[in-house]
């Protein structure tokens, strides 16, 4: 396991998510991959973690690591979960891979007392520059795949996400934008600044 933890702590959004989660709670990690975040939260906060993951190898690795993970499709399988059965439902860098992000968010806030979403900001200035100068879909360290291979099919910007939350009547309890070196953009910065310099964002939501 020793090779696993440092990798988890390198993910800057994982660090933020860990700060947002209360110790000893029940979490559901939607699109949990091989369970890195779940391991981290279980180890450091003593949470009861469950996960759902589409990829077979991710699930097998996570279960072999002793985590409770279900092989399944968040777009369809979240319907089977009961209301408020978790304290937090987490979507770390997975919302943009859902076929129906709106429905997944609705389910998330139905199943969880709170939701935590981290996503790459498509309005990040390097993205904008690449699109402007090369005329091609941007690629970054965070999003290295070409357009035809990526599983990310519903990109959005920080502004888009805030707008959707408003539309859905979702309360944003906390919002954190991170620049390319993983540092927080100051709270008092205006939205346009966040939307330009935030490479990714983490939101704590509730209904």
């Amino acid at each position: 396991m020793s090779d696993v933890i440092p990798a988890a702590e390198q993910r800057v959004d994982f660090r933020i998510i860990r700060e947002l989660v209360e110790p000893g709670t029940r979490i559901l990690d939607v699109g949990c991959g091989d369970g890195l975040l779940m391991s981290l939260l279980r180890r450091t906060l003593g949470v009861r973690a469950s996960g759902i993951e589409l990829s077979q190898t991710g699930v097998n690795d996570a279960v072999a690591r002793g985590l409770s993970v279900i092989q399944g499709d968040a777009d369809t399988d979240l319907d089977a979960y009961t209301d408020k059965s978790f304290d937090y439902v987490i979507l770390s860098q997975s919302l943009q891979a859902m076929r129906d992000p709106h429905k997944v968010l609705e389910n998330m806030l139905r199943i969880g007392e709170r939701g935590i979403v981290s996503f790459p900001n498509f309005a990040y200035y390097r993205m904008r520059l690449q699109l402007l100068t090369t005329g091609k879909m941007p690629k970054t360290d965070l999003l290295p795949e070409p357009w035809w291979r990526t599983s990310n099919i519903h990109f959005c910007t920080i502004r888009d996400f805030v707008e959707l939350c408003d539309e859905m009547g979702v309360t944003v309890e906390a919002q954190i934008a991170l620049n390319s070196s993983g540092r927080r953009i100051p709270l008092n910065a205006p939205w346009w600044f966040w939307n330009l310099f935030g490479e990714q964002a983490v939101f704590l939501l509730r209904r």
């Binding site: 009861r48 097998n60 279960v63 072999a64 690591r65 002793g66 409770s68 092989q71 979960y81």
Partner: protein
């Protein structure tokens, strides 16, 4: 480990079969394994009770001081208690030696493993071949029809008699998986973790149909004699063999049949234009049928298939599967195989959705393989890796010490 199995070497074939048949019959009432005998009634769902009754079992490994490391392995339709030791009748290795043993995923260096023959079976637990109490003849069809719940109740009484309050794990595939589900539902507080493998919460109409073909084959054999074949000194070999042949087809995938046999001919250059076993697959199935008859009782086959057919966990809980699992404190790991068409992945998903809806802690893994339903009995590295990981994680939570690795 019993070593008194029949060795066929140097014995004429017919004699060997006779000796084996005698040995098999001896195992029914006086098994070479351990056996727990009860003078208190085992109440059955059919309304009657068995009294006295007995349950035959094997154990492997050591029970720890806190008695927290006991694992029940539940066997499938035609299995028995000999999961990790040489079979006393056939002399073949245990049916789950790939999974159970020292250093195996169900590690007998860490866990105290109990494997019992099901009630209704023919390997030492009370079943239709057992001699009726106070009489000289076997029960035959006078044995009440049994259910999966009855089998599990009998196991629970065995576990109690061994002085074990809670089980670390209950593990089993196919009908064994049904017992795992029943354990988790009937005795939730006694099950720390549960591994139902290649199974379902009810037998599907297709599954019932295949079982019915098998039962009809047995009952159509003139040597079945209304179930009284033992009393009349005969045996419905043909019927039971055909039943096994039909069932065996359901245990393998079409892809595996193509891979293993294709349309290849058996020991011949061309077609015989007759009804011999021209094709390898025919010869293979006939072999499966005839070896099965040597180790299994025909009436037992009727009873145990019936128990599977009757299994319907939701029906026992107002039709709501989630109610069955409500408040389950156990950790669950549900496993299916991609090419299993007897208990397809959709059946496992049904279990998982219900466990989720009940708020239980559950993992679900589908293993990619072309070996069909029988994959759970075979060497499948990915499957074993998952079982090992799940049990190791759970053992850590349960505080079961890992012995130091051998130098």
């Amino acid at each position: 480990m019993p070593s008194d199995f029949v060795d066929d070497a140097g014995i004429a074939a017919d004699d060997a079969i006779d000796i084996r048949e005698q040995r098999r019959r001896a195992e029914v009432d006086e098994p070479s394994s351990a056996v727990a005998r009860f003078d208190s009634p085992l109440k059955l769902e059919a309304g009657q009770s068995l009294n006295p009754w007995q349950i035959a079992y094997q154990t492997y490994g050591e029970l720890n001081r806190d008695k927290t490391n006991a694992v029940i392995v539940c066997h499938a339709l035609t299995g028995d208690q000999h999961c990790a030791n040489r079979h006393p009748v056939t002399g073949r290795p245990g049916w789950w030696e790939a999974m159970v043993g020292p250093g195996r995923p169900v590690d007998t260096d860490r866990f105290f493993v109990i494997c019992a023959n099901v009630i209704g079976g023919c390997s030492g637990s009370t079943g239709p071949a057992s001699i009726r109490p106070g009489g000289t003849e076997p029960y035959a069809l006078d044995m009440p029809v049994l259910t999966i719940r009855d089998m599990v109740r009998a196991q629970a009484m065995l576990v109690e008699s061994l002085g074990i309050e809670t089980l670390f794990a209950v593990v089993g595939g196919s009908m064994g998986g049904m017992q795992v589900l029943e354990w988790g539902v009937s005795y939730p507080e006694r099950v720390f973790c549960a591994l139902p493998i290649a199974t379902g919460v009810r037998h599907s109409p297709q599954n019932i149909a295949f079982h019915e073909v098998g039962r009809q084959a047995i009952m159509a054999d003139p040597d079945w004699r209304g179930g009284r074949y033992m009393i009349e000194g005969v045996k419905p070999r043909k019927g039971l063999g055909v039943a096994r042949m039909a069932a065996h087809i359901t245990y393998v995938s079409e892809a595996a049949l193509h891979r293993k046999f294709g349309r290849q001919l058996q020991d011949r250059e061309g077609l015989s234009y007759g009804f011999d076993a021209d094709f390898q697959i025919e010869s293979y199935l006939r072999h499966q049928g005839s070896t099965f008859v040597d180790r299994f009782d025909a009436n037992s086959y009727l009873y145990v298939t019936r128990a599977m057919d009757y299994f319907d966990l939701a029906a026992d809980h107002e039709g709501q599967l989630a109610h069955a699992f409500k408040g389950s404190p156990s950790r669950w790991c549900v496993i299916s195989f991609t090419s299993d068409w007897l208990f397809p992945t959709s059946e496992s998903r049904r279990i998982v959705h219900a466990l989720n809806a009940a708020g239980a802690e559950v993992s679900f893994v589908e293993i990619e393989t072309d070996r069909g339903h029988d994959a759970f009995l075979l060497m499948e590295p990915e499957f074993h890796r998952v079982v090992r990981g799940f049990l190791t994680g759970a053992a850590r939570s349960r505080g079961i010490a890992v012995p130091a690795p051998a130098a």
